[in-house]
Subunit: 386 residues, 2 copies
């Protein structure tokens, strides 16, 4: 594959997008009734906002309890009224009524009326795809991960800050979640892939990278493999190799069959640090891999990628990437800073800045060619510097 990127081309700055999205959580404070002229009024208004932050705890608890009680799975089979649902799930009637009301307030269940006036609860198709197990974009894995890991970890966040999650020798580790927890999580974050691949393709187009020729993709730490598999669906003359650990590779294989790209997709159980990756890849993907690294292991990964990259090839990193001022003016910056806190809470990993990546690129004789925004992340493209 010949690249259209000549070594003389300078950094390409794609149109910056200023993001002012507000949270998708429903507002619980009627701001129109809060004045902000006097200091006391501003304090009272601020107190409402602080309170709204503190009770943000409620939403995940309500959604995860509904999952635990099989409310989503049961309502997906057929709409039900609260009496029947409480019977089927052997739950207290009042408790179930309160739960359904709360889910309704959060927009997680819909209400309709049966002929006799009974209120029936149901779940939209889109939410079923997210809240039931088995779907490609199911967040059930994330919910299980939250119940097992996130809640206790966040409750002890002050302790993690105090110690920096360093081990006894003072080293910060790579992210240390267990294989089984990683398996739950990896299935729960597939939804990040489609808009990232859309942006990647936009970037390839703006760079005038020739996508019409056969290309070989390496997906390092592929997880379910969705990032490269979406590319394979789009470019049927491309092939991809996914690398991940023994426990994860079967997920990637079965998903490649589900998406009808199994003939283009191969996979290998691989210890990134010990085993050969192969060489001459046209596109090397790292989706949500770098935030799990220490600075040292991140630098090593970039060097290894440089060695495996074909002339004119591209390295694509999708991750929480900070601008160098650590300013949080966009959703992507805010999410990166908060995700770093999440990493600290659950033990290991970090969010690195553009400057960090640029240094690692330079050391590996690479250079960054563009930065793109995805809904919650940033996407870097880099190529050989010379």
């Amino acid at each position: 594959m010949s690249a259209e990127i000549t070594s003389s081309s300078s950094l390409i700055q794609l149109t910056p997008i200023v993001t002012r999205s507000s949270s998708s959580l429903p507002g619980l404070v009627d701001q129109t009734l809060l004045a902000d002229t006097t200091m006391v009024e501003r304090t009272v208004k601020t107190a409402h906002s602080v309170y709204e932050h503190l009770i943000a705890l409620w939403a995940p608890a309500i959604i995860e309890a509904a999952h635990d009680l099989s409310v989503f799975a049961t309502l997906a089979k057929e709409p039900m009224d609260v009496v029947r649902l409480a019977q089927v799930l052997q739950s207290d009637l009042r408790g179930m009524r309160v739960l359904l009301d709360a889910l309704y307030a959060l927009g997680f269940v819909q209400r309709s009326y049966a002929g006799d006036g009974t209120q029936l609860y149901s779940i939209s198709q889109e939410l079923q795809s997210c809240l039931l197990p088995g779907g490609i974009f199911s967040l059930v894995g994330k919910m299980i991960y939250d119940r097992r890991l996130a809640w206790p970890a966040w409750q002890n966040f002050a302790q993690a800050v105090r110690t920096g999650s360093a081990d006894q020798a003072g080293h910060y580790g790579q992210n240390q979640i267990s294989d089984s927890d990683y398996e739950y999580l990896v299935n729960g974050i597939n939804f990040w892939a489609p808009p990232s691949i859309t942006e990647l393709c936009r970037g390839l187009q703006e760079l005038e990278w020739d996508t019409s020729k056969a290309a070989s993709v390496l997906d390092v730490g592929c997880g379910t493999g969705l990032y490269c598999q979406l590319l394979l669906q789009k470019f049927q003359h491309w092939t991809a190799l996914g690398l991940d650990c023994e426990r994860i590779i079967p997920l990637a294989i079965s998903q490649s069959e589900r998406l009808g790209v199994e003939s283009q997709f191969s996979s290998r159980v691989c210890d990134f640090w010990q085993d050969e990756w192969g060489s001459n890849f046209d596109l090397i993907l790292f989706a949500n891999i770098f935030h799990l690294q220490t600075r040292e292991s991140a630098r090593t990964l970039v060097t290894m990628a440089s060695r495996a990259l074909a002339p004119g090839g591209l390295i694509c990193i999708v991750d929480h990437i900070l601008d160098d001022e650590r300013n949080a003016q966009t959703s992507q910056d805010r999410f990166a800073l908060l995700f770093a806190a999440s990493m600290l809470a659950t033990g290991g990993g970090d969010a690195y800045s553009l400057g960090d990546y640029d240094r690692w690129f330079a050391e590996a004789d690479l250079r960054r060619v563009c930065v793109l925004d995805t809904p919650m992340h940033r996407l870097l493209l880099a190529t050989h510097a010379s």
Copy 2:
């Protein structure tokens, strides 16, 4: 005090306010990069929203950890860079950097630059008033309450739904939080009072209730007493009696001194159910009292209030009040439905509807004269029916 409300006046419907406030939590998803044309696109967009709900857990954890580590108290004394703050608080440097970044992303700390380019962190005056102990609108009590009660309670929410928080005899209790936890909490929700009192005064004006004459206020379960004390500040010819338990009354007395209304304010340690309230009050306040009740105890409270109310007097109830369809189209409705879930999680209490109150009023020979919205609650005014 003569009331301007004649028995012939029908229910007064004040201008309804449609509220479409969005959450004050910062958005973490750049919605502009998510398409919603195809079913897959809508599913992916929905998955981002579900994820944003699940990670809403992070905000309270980050804020409460900063409180636990004395970050707010320390930065309130003087702006500091992360190195100095980590030293002063004997925290890991990287941990503190991650925490400050996260607080910055949430808008809880500000950043400025010292002459030498060092980034200094500080906290706005408004946030200091909310995040430091001692201030009238401090939420420190709410944070302590959260650490002690809310986190473990919400983690077991599925169990509370299953059993309905009923005791072994099958009775739902009144809210059973301990006196010390109530003491923490009562100080942490003062911020609800000022906009509620603003709305109450608006209601009194629209009802043409004569506020120029001396009036006696009874504040049942007064907590810190802020609701009646703000009225006393506004109407210096009014007097108020606050009723609460032994542990809380000292808070109300000292706050009345702080607000300069101690000569108008008296208080009494009182078991609402056993002790006399007195009689002939012009205005009887119940601020956040009814949601702690069972239906039976709520009915009893209304009856007792009716007996203690002067001719032409008003009963004012500020609480989570549902419309009868339990629809959640406004901040107030959503908060009421979610607060009911919170009550279930922490054991007891409920959110009642306008219809419930109207029945209790009718049984006590009272009638509702208006409903007003406050930023997170509703406010009911009722008077003698005949």
